[in-house]
Amino acid sequence: MSRLSQMLVVTRKELRDAFRDRRAIYSVLFGSLFGPILVGVMFNAIADRQREVEDITVPVVGIEHAPALVDWLRQQSGVTVVEGPADAESAVRDRTQDVVVVIPDDFAKRFRASRPVELQVVSDGSRTASRPKVQRVRALLQRYNGEVAALRLVGRGVSPAVISPLQIQDREVSSAQQRAAVILNFIPLFIVLASFTGGMQIATDSTAGERERGSLEPLLVNPAPRMVIAGGKWLAAALSATLSVAITTTLCLTLLRFIPLQDLGIRFRLGPEQVAWLLVAVLPLCLLSTAIQTYLSTFARSFKEAQSYMGYLIMVPMLPGMLSSVYPITSQPWMYPIPILGQHLLASDVLGGKSPSPIMFVLAALAALATAIVLVRLTTGLLQREKIVFGR
């Protein structure tokens, strides 16, 4: 009997065993669904806020003092002007309004005399959520200010260009897709996390669980090399992780189709080609993540002990994400062959619309695979120790 078919016997048994276990199914499902759901919720929240800014309602106190200004405001697209509350400050303070414009009584008199009029924009600077709206109102008023100033100059025979020595134009150099990647940065994180959560149950149950139940000794009495046993268990965990990654990736990308990304000013295109590259980037990680888990769990005498190791291990894939929020990582070629980090970078690149060289994909995959094989060999070594086989 070939070693490979023996290994597949072990793999098949572990998969069958695991998928009869509700805990295993939950851990795969939870790990796979958590990310996409969070992505969906967050994007929708951001998109809603953005939409709010576009269609704004501006409460104005003293509409009757400046009918021309109010008419101008009403003509701007997406702007609705309503009568403001009597006490503007307290309305903003108790959050019934995000922003209130107060027009003073003497507006018409001063305006006619071409003297500056004091307009109040009441807002709460500590509230980040209302900031875009406040900025929009302020920008509208600035524009009105500019238009009136220009008209007055023209009326006095002066070119409006005279008072605009500088014309400031913003030019954004990052592509729209790159800006999207910054926001979409947590999708690779969730996909990488899925490769850890998806195989965890099998990795722990088939090793530490096997020791705890006392079924390891009878298993090893069969004429199969330890490498075959370790390999079969690892493969089962890796397949489960692959399933989890596939679900997460598919769901995240399906969700992105329904999220109004253009509302966020993001032009995001994700065709079948990008999906394929994304999977090519991340799937090798399933081999590594489960190899680490199988190795660590073989040390553990009980399922619970193994799970506590898994709790610490899950921090590892979060590191690249956390570090990149502190130090914005500009990806360097040497980073790609570092397992886990490499996969993270590749996934971010693909989502950001950059296409890394295929060599990077190969290097990252090979590095993950090589590390995984070393770990499976180490697991094999553990299974040869009498302390592990008999020590319970």
Binding site: Q6, D17, R213, G214, S215, V221, P223, E386, F390
Partner: protein
Amino acid sequence: MIRVEHLRKQFGPVTAVDDVSFEAPDGAVTGLLGPNGAGKTTTLRMLYALMRPDAGRILVDDVDAVADPIGAQARLGVLPDVSGLYPRLTAREHIQYFGELQGVSGATLKMRTDELLERLDMRGIADRRTAGFSHGERTKVAIARALVHDPRNILLDEPTNGLDVMSTRAVREIIRRLRAEGRAVVFSSHVMQEVSALCDRIIVIARGRIVASGTPDALREQTGHQNLEDAFVALAGLEREVVE
């Protein structure tokens, strides 16, 4: 047939097995008898090649178990000391899993599985998950999966430990049948009656050493005790221990 020559195993300062030699011929039941901690389990673990002896030789049908553990394991059917089951697999799946690992497949595997389920009177529980099984049922599953590849040599570590009367009788019946089929059976026990009821040859082990061996009658003669239990106590040096 199993032959053991000058087996030795050391755990730190403790010599668990010390110069143990014996032979378990085909068509006979050989009993390893000794109090708890005498070295029976350690001896058996070396026989089924999960533990490496520090010295000595083990031959299973002329295969050296130290040099070729996998070759030896293919010729052995083993019920280890600890025989955990998979609670989410059925009795039948347990037997098939071990059969496949032993290289049995297809129609042969199906036939052997059915035969074992029949022989061990397990038809009623064959397709139930083992989670709620009684101790007796669990032991039957563990024995069945150990026999699925039709091994010529059988090692059973305290097979009747903790079983009720009916299950014990069933296990004895299995052992007698295995002997009748011409297999070499080695089993360990710390219960005198167990060994005397079944064994053709008894090897008494105490503190890692063989203190006596022979047929039950020979042992009685050797010690001058008519009662085998008295003979066992005398041989294992347990009397001295109590006096000390």
